[in-house]
Symmetry: C2
Subunit: 392 residues, 2 copies
């Protein structure tokens, strides 16, 4: 679709864009120009003259389009962990009478860790309850303050039904936070239609913003002027340059900004978003499903020892496919050494991401060809190899 716009190493089939997206061809020069012409020539005046101060919002709007969020409802900054904390702390204030935070065991660990740290600090009798992903709907109750889920499971690719779960939760008075780390740029998301209160996500996976690219947070517009940002930094203040001694939250989503925005990272992300601005997410989703369905069909036909770990029905799957295999770590190491980049998640999951911007059917077929060859002919199952490549 846009493979020629990425710098991909020759002889590499990259099926790990769900972990770190590749370098957009325009990004290096875009960043170099910002450093030379803006930082170098404007220095401090770049904050206004070059629009640095507005970047958290302008970039936020571009990410917003990809997740069905209206302009002015998404702001960039910090890391996903920080944004989870901020969303959860704000959500708990909305539902201050209840004490349970509900999540699932398929959530990415940092979401759970940040919740654990917050609840421990608050010391107000909250508890974090994690159930199996399939058990979330049944665990909803009027005791739950906040439902906090990642839409797409980072290991299996299992996809939660965002709209249905949000509706069920809100019917019981629960505030809802969605982590879109594996959704933004992976599949169509419609935050407005979901009616969820908060969403957070990162931009270094499917959006290709580069290692350490900033996170985003969405707040439903009717709440944005009411939420209390626990992380109340000066750039979320109503008038940062008044240097008042008392915090007064800024208007709308701006209050969720904390400190000085990472302008260089935001500039790299801007270049990456140039490749996203004209993408139709329905079209992308159709391509993603074609690629992942093809991969499942070919692997199952040619590598019968592998067991599908992802939902077979594409409607219940994000943009990745995982397989169980007891020696998955060794096989993945061999695959990587042969130029097919996926990754491994303990105990036995081989994970492959499908990113239609730069992955084509021919890549999928070539990857399976190599996988089949490894399964049939390689040394991955010798004791020597296993010892050398043991999971540490």
């Amino acid at each position: 679709m846009k493979k020629h716009l990425f710098d991909l190493p020759e002889n590499m089939i990259y099926l790990d864009g769900n972990s770190l997206g590749p370098l957009p061809r325009n990004a290096t020069e875009h960043v170099a120009r910002m450093m030379r012409d803006e930082w170098g020539q404007m220095l401090i005046t770049g904050w206004n003259k070059a629009g640095w101060m507005q970047k958290s919002l302008t970039v936020g709007d571009r990410v917003g389009r990809l997740i069905g969020a209206p302009a002015g409802t998404v702001i960039m900054g910090d890391t996903l962990s920080i944004k989870v904390y901020q969303a959860l702390a704000s959500a708990l204030k909305i539902n201050s009478g209840r004490k349970i935070v509900l999540s699932d065991t398929g959530n990415f660990p940092t979401d759970l860790y940040m919740a654990q740290g917050l609840l421990k600090s608050l010391d107000q009798g909250h508890s974090l309850q994690t159930v199996a992903p399939e058990a979330v709907a049944d665990a909803l109750s009027t005791d739950v303050a906040v439902l906090m889920l990642t839409q797409v499971d980072y290991r299996t690719g299992r996809l939660h039904d965002m709209n249905a779960l949000t509706r069920a939760a809100q019917d019981l008075g629960i505030v809802v936070i969605w982590d879109l780390a594996h959704s933004a740029g992976a599949l169509p998301v419609d935050m407005t239609a979901s009616k969820a209160e908060f969403a957070v996500g990162c931009t270094y996976k499917y959006l290709n913003g580069g290692p350490g690219a900033p996170a985003f947070i969405y707040v439903r517009p009717d709440l944005a002027d009411q939420v209390e940002p626990a992380l109340s930094g000066w750039l979320g203040h109503e008038a940062p340059f008044a240097f008042d001694l008392e915090y007064r939250p800024g208007k709308g989503i701006e209050r969720m900004r904390v400190g000085t925005p990472p302008v260089i990272q935001l500039t790299a992300l801007e270049a990456a978003l140039d490749l996203w601005d004209d993408v139709d997410m329905q079209d992308l989703r159709a391509r993603s499903i074609r690629l992942s369905d093809l991969f499942i069909r070919e692997v199952e036909a040619r590598c019968p020892a592998l067991t599908l770990a992802s939902p077979r029905d594409a409607q219940h799957r994000g943009s990745q496919v995982s397989f169980h295999f007891p020696e998955g770590y060794a096989v993945m190491q061999t695959l990587i050494s042969r130029g097919v980049i996926g990754d491994f998640r303990a105990p036995d999951i081989m994970r492959f991401g499908f990113t239609p911007l730069y992955t084509e059917e021919s890549d999928v077929l070539a990857a399976v060809e190599i996988l089949q060859d490894i399964m049939e002919n390689s040394l991955w199952d010798t004791p020597e190899f296993k010892q050398k490549n043991a999971v540490t």
Copy 2:
């Protein structure tokens, strides 16, 4: 001293390095190389192969040298606001029986805002008490849990006596946090000698890391394995890639890391630190004092309408000099239009930073020459100018 190693615009005298440092000449290519050769060619494997995952620590050690902190006690990441929050939340846990956070009105507002947000969230009866900078020593008492100060006042440059205040506070059982935003790279700091429990700071001012460069946090080594990071993210976990569901803090300073590090910003900062690694801070301090003393002497001799806002004694001053003047905003706008870059802080402070890496005595003299000309001959005090340049 190293002016030739910076890209400074011609015909500009930059006296605002206390707000945003200029572009080190090596930074653009260093970042471009990282993007091209590491992100572009290594993709996900860059986290290990290119040492991205270690950068928060390796860069932290280089910053640590400049603030008298031993290797392994400083870690980079997030913004200064976030690091203030993390230090304060951890400090309050150490002193959980006390309820007062003491600071001063010369602290940078975001430190106070983050404290206000934290204390409000905790809802455990804490209060933030802010006194005049001169009154801090007298306000110390056994009711105070945490003393949280910025060493150098961002408006006046007044310098707290870090070691004496820390000792006085600790004698009363108070935990101490120093914000080194205007200290790191500005004057010699010896965290070990100070015995303070925590320090935080930013790297886009004197250290020249670029707009949005990451912050740092120091934890005194004997506490590093005990502090509870309220912001308990996955990269502060003992084994991030075990993907456990329960948070277990990592060893030492690593537990203060939160989310994915901003690798591109860290790379720009690395280039900036190349210019710092051989700097002797005592020598730099001597040069800084020569520059700022010269500036005060010349301004007072040639612009008698301006009143010194900074301590006259260099021993009580950081690396900046400020003057009061009722029409300071208009004069600063005129100065900037004439190529002398300082900045203005309400209500009447004209602020000038002195950064010996790239500022020389000839710059100081040329700047005062222009300032004198403006004071004597410019239109800054016409009603038209004032209206056009009104502080908004």
